[in-house]
C-alpha cells in the first residue's frame, strides 16, 4: 500500500492550470484526447461524480503530436483528469503548470561574442538573467544578423513573464528597460 502526497491538492485560490501528458505515439495521444472529450461530456450530465470547481465548457483539450494538452481555470481540482490521463494511455510524462507560458527570450550582443564572454562583458542583472536562462533553458539558439548576434532561449512552463518583467527565480529582470533584450 502506497500512501500518496498529492501535487494537485486543491488550494484556496484559482489559477489557469495546464496539464501536458506525453505518450509513446500520436495514435495513443489521439485516443486519450477523445476519451478526455467524452469525459467532459459525461461531466455535464453527472456533475456529482466529479471533484471539480470548473465547468466542462470552460476546459480545453488539444493534441500536439504525442502530447495531450488540457487547460482549465481551477483551484487545483484536477484529479479526475489526471486519473484519466494515467489510465487510458501509457503515460511517459505528466507536467503540470500554473499560468503556462511558451515564450522566446532574446538578447542581442556584438557579433562574435560567445555566451561565456557575454557573461564577462555584461554586468549585474543581465548576467544573472543569462545564468538563469542557461540553467533553465539550456544553451541558446545563436543567430548572426546585421545588427549583431542574437542569443535566443525558448522557455515553456509556469508563468515567468508579465508586463515587461521577467520573474527569474528570486529576482526580477525589467526587460523593458533594456533595448537589446526582447520577449515574444
Amino acid at each position: 500500500m502506497r500512501f500518496h502526497v498529492f501535487k494537485f491538492r486543491p488550494s484556496s485560490h484559482s489559477e489557469d492550470y495546464t496539464l501536458i501528458a506525453t505518450y509513446a505515439d500520436e495514435e495513443e495521444a489521439r485516443a486519450v484526447g477523445r476519451k478526455l472529450l467524452q469525459m467532459l461530456e459525461d461531466m455535464k450530465r453527472n456533475e456529482e461524480d466529479y471533484n471539480a470547481d470548473w465547468s466542462p465548457s470552460e476546459a480545453s483539450v488539444s493534441i500536439d503530436g504525442r502530447r495531450v494538452v488540457f487547460n482549465v481555470y481551477t483551484a487545483g481540482y484536477l484529479s479526475d483528469v489526471r486519473a484519466l490521463l494515467e489510465k487510458v494511455g501509457l503515460l511517459q510524462s505528466l507536467e503540470c503548470y500554473e499560468n503556462y507560458q511558451e515564450i522566446a527570450i532574446s538578447v542581442t550582443v556584438p557579433r562574435g561574442l560567445s555566451v561565456e564572454v557575454a557573461m564577462v562583458v555584461y554586468q549585474g542583472v543581465e548576467v544573472e538573467a543569462i545564468k538563469w536562462l542557461l540553467k533553465n533553458c539550456g544553451q541558446p539558439e545563436i543567430v548572426d544578423g546585421n545588427n549583431g548576434r542574437i542569443f535566443k532561449w525558448y522557455y515553456r512552463g509556469d508563468e515567468i513573464y508579465n508586463d515587461g518583467i521577467l520573474y527569474l527565480g528570486n529576482f526580477q529582470f525589467e526587460v523593458y528597460k533594456y533595448k537589446n533584450w526582447s520577449v515574444e
Binding site: 500500500m1 494537485f8 453527472n46 471533484n51 486519473a83 484519466l84
Partner: protein, 100 residues
C-alpha cells in the same frame, strides 16, 4: 475509528478500507474496467484510491482538533460514497461507452 489520532492516520486507514471494498465488493466491475484501459488492476486500484483520498483530504484535516467539523467515521463514509461514484463514472467511460 476511535483510536485514530491524526488526519494522516485516518487517511491511511481509509485507503485500506477503500482497497478492501474495491477488491471484495467490486472486483467484477474493476475487471471489466481494466480490460478497457492501459493499466493493470493493481495500478487502477491505486489510482482510484488516490483520487478518493484527494477528495476527502480536506475533510480529514477537520476531523481532529482544533477545528472539528466531521467525525472520522463521517469522513470514511464520505470516502466510500465518493468511491462508488468514481466507479460509476469509470463504468460509463470505459465499459458501457455510453455517455448519458
Amino acid at each position: 475509528m476511535q483510536d485514530v489520532t491524526s488526519p494522516k492516520q485516518l487517511l491511511a486507514i481509509i485507503s485500506i478500507v477503500l482497497t478492501k471494498y474495491i477488491l471484495e465488493e467490486r472486483s467484477e466491475d474493476v475487471e471489466r474496467i481494466v480490460a478497457s484501459i492501459k493499466v493493470d488492476k493493481g495500478k487502477y486500484v491505486d489510482l482510484l484510491v488516490q483520487e478518493v483520498i484527494e477528495n476527502v483530504w480536506v475533510d480529514a484535516q477537520f476531523a481532529f482538533p482544533p477545528h472539528i467539523l466531521m467525525t472520522p467515521e463521517e469522513v470514511k463514509n464520505k470516502a466510500l460514497k465518493v468511491l462508488k461514484r468514481k466507479i460509476s463514472r469509470d463504468m460509463r467511460l470505459y465499459v458501457s461507452n455510453k455517455i448519458e
